[in-house]
């Protein structure tokens, strides 16, 4: 902030006067513009025109000023720090007569004078930074200073408290507490909630959200015919009991934990980590409370007399990539693994980007590099090597420390593991050395550049570590300490994101200062506290959200709402978004009747275009050529698809699935032509179309009924008259097209490996297959709406 210059002070004062005069006129203009913007008389939508430090000011300072005047001591300019009140209020180091902030007096606050200056030698941020402030932002800073330049603790680092339910005008809409918070915001914005979604859409929504599978026709009939007021709740309860629930929930957890079936890095040979995934499904289905679920994964090995199940859970921290590249430097990679665990802990559990403090103090959040390595220390004591072995046989499919899973285990304590043979099965898990490995600050993050040594600890700004034991078990206790401001908020937000497509905090892995602010902070806090009060009960949380009127709204978007809230931040309509890759596959397989509902077991290799693995492999290991599976293995749910990290299955990646390279808390959701090509030409879709077509062809009902049934099975609702007309016409057209081109019909019906035992008329079956492929390609089919 402070100029470093050779001008005598008197000259500067003279210059200042001129600048000040100029500024007065400029800021008057700015003020006029600003008042036009806030015709309602409230500043930034907050009553009374009060500027909030957390919600209005800090985002500006963090984005534009902290890089040089923030937490990073090494990059700090002119000794000025704006993220801490007392520092910002101090007399300037280079100019003891001036202050960056004089509460109540913008025109004596150097901060305001400099950000509003037009003089390139004075202005902040300096032109060389490529950053600049908008007139609105300058005006906000000015108002904030005028109102006393009050600082607040960053919202996410203060312990969440349940505030009373807000008042709402519409007394009839709310079904539970969530709705009061949502409606209150909607009423502030002048928006009205949508009606409840129609029952068919609603059923599809809850089925996909709870189980990841579409409803069967029987369930659709049952739900439509049950007119009791409990029908919805009862169905939610039933679905939560389905074992498919655990499979659905596991997908998000597999992204977060960067689960894969290969070691990663360039050789990328096989790893047998799938029993850990089977445990995750099991744990969700058992409704293990979130605190226990995470504690076992973080520190199951450190629990007193750990069970094999608790040990297996710790596979979480060994899912990261592990090199088998000959010549890799051992310590370089060992440090890389510890780094990965540390960063994953930050993103997944406390929603902060610790990794930014890997090489230097965090530039935005109040985490020092020392604190980063204090976190690092928790994960630094594993008895592991950076390069344990180069590509080899079955003994390399897991890395030490590891556990062996015997056939007896599978009959007993680990009975949820779907082990299908008697081969030796090993899984990488956690295990600390008795002798503590010292942890050092690594200068610039380099593995061989040791600085001071540090003890395990946590960032003070979140919650000091206190007296917990200085190991991973202590870390888990700290994580679930009731005073930890982040843990519950972060998980509640992840579940909200699963159901609404967008978290209350959009940046689900960053609750720090540079993350987005919550769209409804009071709701987030209310839910977080209630979740803790309900003993971290995950099914309770899912059900609570699903029972709200907010969740049950129809997804219809009126032009007014599209304009007022294009991203549906305030939820004046129900969620509507394209399904994640795995659930598109599930929907296709399930509706065609091909789905094999076996739970767990080794991952499977589905149809994939030829030559992909072959053209990229190093030639070492058992994953150099793609050996596609056959029979039942072709019809398993999406989460069991084999993930080779260096070349994950393209049909999934094109639909934004994670490549499992690193912890991923939120996937993107794109809409591309390559996705159209997958849906039109992937053998999985064509085979499903063929199988369903043949199944329908042997039913002795009129063609229209067959088409109607196909539509209902796939789209999960009855087709409209118009839709039926289009599809029936299309069917007739295709019958005409294939008549006389029987060879085309035969070729089309050859899609996929599923045997065709039934004798059907090729022409009509092919025509029906085209109709069904069309239905699979509907936007609504692969959309939750």
């Amino acid at each position: 902030m402070v100029r470093v210059t050779c001008f005598p002070y008197s000259t500067i004062l003279a210059m200042r006067k001129i600048v000040l005069l100029l500024l007065l006129s400029v800021s008057a203009a700015v003020f006029l513009i600003q008042s036009c913007h806030n015709g309602s008389g409230t500043a930034n939508g907050r009553p009374g025109g009060a500027i909030s430090y957390n919600f209005d000011v800090r985002p500006i300072l963090a984005d534009k000023c902290y890089a040089c005047h923030g937490p990073d001591a090494n990059k700090r300019k002119a000794g000025l720090r704006l993220d801490i009140r007392d520092e910002a209020y101090k007399a300037l180091k280079d100019n003891p007569n001036a202050h960056a902030l004089v509460p109540g007096d913008p025109f004596h606050s150097e901060l305001y004078l400099r950000v509003s200056s037009k003089d390139t030698s004075e202005m902040m941020p300096p032109p060389s930074s490529n950053l600049s402030l908008t007139p609105d932002q300058i005006s906000t800073l000015k108002q904030w200073i005028s109102q006393g330049a009050k600082y607040e603790k960053h919202w996410a680092f203060a312990v969440p408290k349940q505030s009373p339910l807000p008042d709402v005008n519409n007394k009839n809409w709310s079904r539970n507490e969530i709705d009061y918070f949502i409606l209150n915001k909607l009423e502030q914005k002048g928006l009205e909630p949508n009606e409840e979604a129609d029952r068919e859409r609603l059923l599809k929504r809850i089925c996909l959200d709870i189980t990841g599978l579409p409803p069967s026709i029987e369930l659709m009939d049952k739900f439509l015919n049950d007119t009791s007021s409990q029908a919805y709740e009862k169905t939610v309860d039933d679905l939560l009991k389905s074992p498919a629930y655990g499979e659905k929930m596991a997908v998000h957890w597999m992204d977060l934990s960067r689960y894969a079936d290969s070691h990663g890095y360039q050789d990328d040979n096989y790893r047998s980590q799938w029993p850990w995934r089977d445990w995750v499904i099991h744990a969700f289905n058992e409704n293990m409370p979130y605190d226990r679920f995470v504690t076992w994964q973080l520190a199951g090995d450190l629990l007193p007399n750990p069970t094999k199940e608790q040990l297996l859970a710790t596979g979480f921290n060994r899912n990261h990539k592990i090199t088998e590249e000959g010549g890799a430097i051992d310590e370089e990679y060992r440090v890389e693994y510890v780094t990965d665990r540390t960063n994953t802990f930050g993103r997944a559990f406390i929603g902060v980007t610790l990794e930014c403090a890997h090489c230097h103090d965090h530039k935005y959040d109040p985490f020092s590099q020392r604190e980063y390595y204090q976190m690092f220390a928790f994960f630094n004591n594993v008895q592991e090597r950076g390069l344990e072995a180069t590509v080899g046989g079955p003994e390399t499919y897991a890395k030490k420390p590891l556990m062996q899973i015997s056939n007896d285990d599978v009959k007993g304590v680990l009975n949820f593991i779907n082990k299908q043979d008697t081969n030796k099965l090993i899984v990488s898990v956690m295990g600390d050395s008795n002798k503590v490995r010292p942890t050092y600050i690594l200068k610039r993050g380099q593995y061989d550049s040791h600085g001071d040594s540090v003890e395990p600890g946590t960032p003070k700004a979140i919650l000091p570590f206190g007296d917990y034991p200085k190991n991973r078990l202590g870390l888990a206790e700290w994580l679930f300490d009731k005073r930890n401001p982040l843990t519950a908020r972060v998980f509640v937000n992840q579940i909200w994101q699963e159901l609404f497509g967008r978290g209350i905090v959009k940046t689900a892995s960053n609750f720090g200062i540079q993350g987005e602010l919550p769209s409804n902070p009071e709701l987030l806090d209310w839910l977080a506290v209630d979740f803790i009060n309900h003993h971290w009960d995950i099914k309770w949380l899912v059900k609570k959200i699903m029972m709200s009127a907010t969740y049950r709204q129809s997804a219809v978007i009126s032009p007014e709402k599209l304009k007022a809230d294009p991203e549906n931040i305030f939820l004046s309509r129900g969620p509507r978004f394209r399904l994640p890759a795995e659930f598109i596959r599930d929907l296709v397989l399930c509706s065609s009747g091909l789905l094999v509902k076996t739970i767990g077991g080794p991952s499977v290799k589905i149809y994939q275009p030829a030559g992909l693995w072959e053209s990229s492999t190093s030639g070492r290991g058992i994953l150099t050529t793609y050996k596609q599976d056959h029979g039942e293995k072709l019809y398993r749910r999406g989460l069991y698809t084999f993930i080779k990290r260096t070349l994950p299955p393209p049909s999934m990646i094109l639909f934004d699935a994670s490549n499992r390279d690193q912890c991923e808390v939120k996937r993107s959701n794109t809409n591309t032509p390559l996705q159209a090509l997958v849906m039109l030409n992937d053998p999985t879709v064509l085979e499903a179309s063929r199988v369903l077509a043949v199944k329908l062809m042997i039913e002795s009902v009129p063609t229209a009924d067959k088409i109607a049934k196909a539509f209902r099975t796939i789209v999960c609702r009855k087709a409209s008259v118009k839709e039926m007309k289009i599809l029936e016409d299309y069917y007739e057209d295709q019958v005409n097209g294939f008549t006389g081109k029987k060879e085309n019909a035969e070729k089309l019906l050859s899609a996929g490996e599923h045997p065709m035992n039934e004798k059907v008329d090729e022409v009509s079956a092919a025509a029906m297959m085209q109709v069904i492929t069309t239905i699979y390609n509907l936007e609504e089919t692969i959309t939750k709406s």
């Binding site: 009126s558 064509l686 092919a766």
Partner: protein, 485 residues
């Protein structure tokens, strides 16, 4: 006849779509990918497709073709001639030269580091009198068109991080690749093709894998992802319709699909639905456009002769070079080739001639071909690997055999066209070919220079993710002015 029918359908559809689109096209930015001519009448499309396409200053290059030599070819047998190594053949690498440089786990336990001179001779060529080894006779003929940089250096010492560093600007992490940054920064030139295409091939030499992370969009939107192309019958994944489906049949299905999706749009008003309709039309356009562009069978004889007969064999490096020219000529911003097999830890004298033979003729032909088409001025061609190789033999040194381990401290690449000064050799290494004496070029400098040629300021091409602004050049990188024409 059939073509006419299709055209007719297209024109009907175009009208229908424009009517539908006027209801509000949606917020999804289509970015670089596949905006077909079908929609060229709609201003909204142009706005969406060229959203990010503002260069910071006048570009010298519009497109890049990056011929990545995966596995790290030896500079000592290609462009960095070191007679001293032959004179000292078999003597130990002096500690004063090594200066504590870290070694890979593969040679760190060697008791001796016997210096090994190139078994292949070097000669000087062209006006620039650049030294080129006998393994690269075709490249030798174009030395006056290229700039050889002898002083590239990197921080990584193993393949995975080194390759990732070159392609994403960082050794670790899931960051956007160079090509993704470019399509993010410059958008697409051709509305029928992706802005960023990837082509893979493999030689017979010791190989190192490539991985899709190298052409990943990282935190950028997935429309900036590299799309893998191949020179075979199925140039893009899932592009070909199943047997039994012809063009007309596909068109009919898409028409029905659009009608049905439109009903959905009327009910829900979700702009994603109109985008979806549009993406299916784009996919259809691509099914026609891509096979046309990737078909090399109609190339004239002189072109085939220039690239060598392999260029007609799908999946070879030569075929990929020819395909790269065709894609680039058709406006693909960034064509990334990888040729595997350059990791000569042992048997270098036996393996390297084959590797060089694979790439030499076609690489030189690509430069010449672009030049004769008047495209070299606006196309930046880059040839090089992820690091260099040691001047000492890994394993036993014999009269006619040796291997070389990884060497990050200096190695050679060449660049041509797109504003690069032709006919120069940049930088100097010491007599041992071990350290840089003058004009080092770091990976970040290399990226900064490439972006500069493309009209992009590497400090301004940023993207904010997880609260941090990222750049391809992280926090450093200097444009190497002296290699710019």
């Amino acid at each position: 006849m059939q073509k006419q029918i299709i055209e007719n359908h297209l024109s009907i559809n175009r009208r229908k779509f424009l009517t539908r689109m006027s209801l509000g096209l949606g917020s999804v930015a289509l970015g670089s990918l596949l905006i077909p001519d079908l929609f060229s009448g709609s201003p909204e499309d142009d706005a969406a497709s060229f959203m990010a396409g503002v260069p910071h200053f006048a570009p010298r290059a519009k497109r890049v073709i990056y011929l990545f030599q995966n596995g790290a070819p030896s500079q000592l047998e290609s462009f960095d001639f070191k007679p001293r190594l032959r004179e000292m053949e078999g003597m130990d690498l002096p500690a004063s030269v090594r200066m504590g440089q870290r070694l890979t786990g593969m040679s760190s336990d060697q008791a001796h580091f016997p210096l090994a001179g190139s078994l292949f001779d070097f000669k000087q060529y062209g006006k620039s009198q650049a030294w080129v080894s006998d393994l690269f006779p075709h490249t030798a003929k174009i030395v006056d068109d290229i700039c050889i940089i002898k002083t590239m250096f990197t921080e990584a010492i193993n393949h995975d991080p080194a390759l990732t560093f070159f392609q994403t600007g960082a050794q670790q992490g899931n960051l956007p690749s160079f090509g993704s940054w470019m399509s993010y920064g410059l958008g697409s030139e051709n509305k029928n093709l992706p802005a960023f295409c990837v082509l893979l091939s493999r030689g017979k030499g010791n190989g190192q894998g490539v991985y899709s992370k190298l052409w990943s969009n990282g935190f950028l939107d997935s429309i900036y992802q590299g799309v893998q192309f191949s020179s075979g019958d199925n140039p893009v994944l899932y592009l070909n319709d199943h047997n039994g489906i012809d063009k007309q049949s596909r068109r009919k299905m898409l028409d029905k699909l659009a009608e049905l999706n439109d009903l959905s749009y009327k009910e829900f008003g979700d702009p994603e639905i109109s985008t979806k309709i549009k993406q299916y039309e784009m996919a259809y356009r691509m099914q026609t456009a891509v096979p046309d562009i990737t078909d090399v069978s109609k190339e004239p004889d002189d072109i085939v002769k220039m690239y060598g007969p392999d260029c007609l064999l799908p999946g070879t490096y030569a075929a990929n070079c020819l395909l790269a020219r065709k894609l680039s000529e058709n406006g693909v911003r960034f064509v990334q080739l990888y040729h595997q097999g350059w990791d000569q830890h042992a048997n270098l004298p036996k393996e390297m001639p084959g590797q060089a033979m694979d790439v030499d003729q076609a690489s030189a032909a690509l430069v010449t071909d672009l030049k004769q088409r008047g495209l070299l001025d606006e196309t930046l061609v880059i040839w090089g690997g992820e690091f260099g190789r040691t001047n000492y033999s890994q394993g036993k040194l014999t009269k006619d055999n040796y291997g070389r381990d990884h060497h990050p401290r200096c190695f050679s690449i060449w660049m041509a066209g797109g504003g690069i000064k032709p006919g120069i050799v940049y930088g100097e290494t010491d007599d041992f070919g071990y350290n840089i004496v003058r004009d080092p070029v770091h990976v970040h400098d290399f990226h900064a220079t490439c972006l500069h040629l493309l009209g992009l300021n590497h400090e301004k091409l940023t993207f904010k993710s997880q609260g941090r602004r990222y750049r391809l050049t992280d926090t450093s990188g200097k444009v190497v002015d002296r290699i710019i024409a």
